[in-house]
Symmetry: C5
Subunit: 90 residues, 5 copies
C-alpha cells in the first residue's frame, strides 16, 4: 500500500454509474518523514477518511477487493487511516 | 484514478476487432493546480468526454470494469468528467 | 493504451513455449508531438505492425485480452496501428 | 519481486476489516549494492520479517497470492527474507 | 515484456512456501543499445537463464501465466533468452 494524505475532494456528476455514491478523495503521496510528494491519485474512500488525515491506499486490482469497490472501475481505494508510524530502521 | 484533460483524439483503422467503435482519447495528466504534466495515455471514453474537459481515468485491469470495455484489451478508460475539485488540505 | 513506434524486432529461441510463433517487437514510447522517448517495451504484435509504424499498445493483464495472447505470459501487446492523431487541446 | 529493507511499522485502527491482524511494514527499496532508495511501500508481512531485515516483496495482484492476503485489498506483501545475494554479472 | 540482463542470484531460506525450488535471479534492465539501466527486479527463472544472459521478463499478473508460477506470489518471471535484436527503426 502507499502512504498518503487526504488533501481534497473531487465531484463528478457525469460518470460511470458504478461510481454513484462513492466519495472521491484527492490523496497526495507522503515521504516517510511525513512531507508531501508531488504525486497524487484520486481514490475511493472506504473508511471515512477526511481531509488532513494520513492514510494507506491500495492500487490496481487490489483496489477492487473492498466491499464498496468490488468489480467496479476503481484503481485506487483508501483502506486505512494511519494512527502511528515507527521508523527506527531508517 | 488519475486526473487528466482530454487534449485530442486518435484514429486507427487496423486494430484488434474488439476495439471497434470505441473512441480513443488522448488524455494528458494534470497536476492538482490544473496545469498539464507531460505524461499522457490513450484512453477509451465511456462517458462522452470531449476535448478540453477535465476527467478521471482508471488504468490496468480496473479499466476493463465498464460495460463498454469488459474483457477487452483496454488498459485505460475515462470514467468521470470532473465538475469541481476542492483542495483545502494542500 | 500507450503511444509508441515499432523500432525493431527481438528473436528468442529458448523461451516459454506459450510464446512460440509470436512476433516480438521493440516498441519505443512516443511523445504527443511524435518524438521518441527513451522508454521502450518488447510487445507481442497482434495486428501486423511493421518497423516504423506508430502504434498503440496495452500493458498488464489487458495485454492478455487478445485472441493471440489470452492466458499467455505476455504483459504488452500491440493492439492498433495509428492512422491519425488530432491534438487541438494541447 | 522487489528488493527492500524493513525500516519500520505502521499502525492503523480504523481500516478495512479484511486487514485485521495483519502486520503492516514500511519497506524501503534497495539498490543492488544494499544502499537505500527513497522509494518505499507499506507491505503486509507474511514471513515474520523484522525491522532491519532485507526482504523481497511482491506487488499488484501477485500480492494477493499468499494464504494471508488472498482476496484482500493488499497490493504489496513481503514473501521472502534474503540470506545472500551474488552479483557477479554487474 | 522488458529487456534485461541476468546479473546475479538471490538466496532466501525463510520465504512463502509457494516459492520453494524457484531460482530467483537479479535482472537489471537494459537500454536498447545493451547498456545497463539502474532499475532492476528479482525475477523467477522459468527458462534456465544464467548470469550474463540477455533476457525478456514479464511483470504483474502476466508473470503468473507460466507453468512454474501459476497462482504463486510472483510478479516477475523470465520468459525468454534473447538471441538477437534488430533495431533498424531507431
Amino acid at each position: 500500500m502507499t502512504l498518503g494524505k487526504v488533501v481534497g475532494t473531487v465531484w463528478a456528476t457525469r460518470k460511470d454509474e458504478q461510481l454513484t455514491g462513492m466519495t472521491l478523495q484527492l490523496v497526495q503521496e507522503l515521504n516517510m518523514d511525513g512531507s508531501l510528494k508531488s504525486k497524487f491519485v484520486v481514490a475511493v474512500d472506504s473508511v471515512g477518511a477526511g481531509v488532513g488525515e494520513t492514510v494507506l491506499f491500495a492500487q490496481g486490482s487490489s483496489a477492487r477487493q473492498t466491499e464498496l469497490t468490488r468489480n467496479k472501475p476503481v484503481d485506487a481505494v483508501i483502506t486505512a487511516i494511519v494512527d502511528k508510524m515507527d521508523n527506527p530502521g531508517n
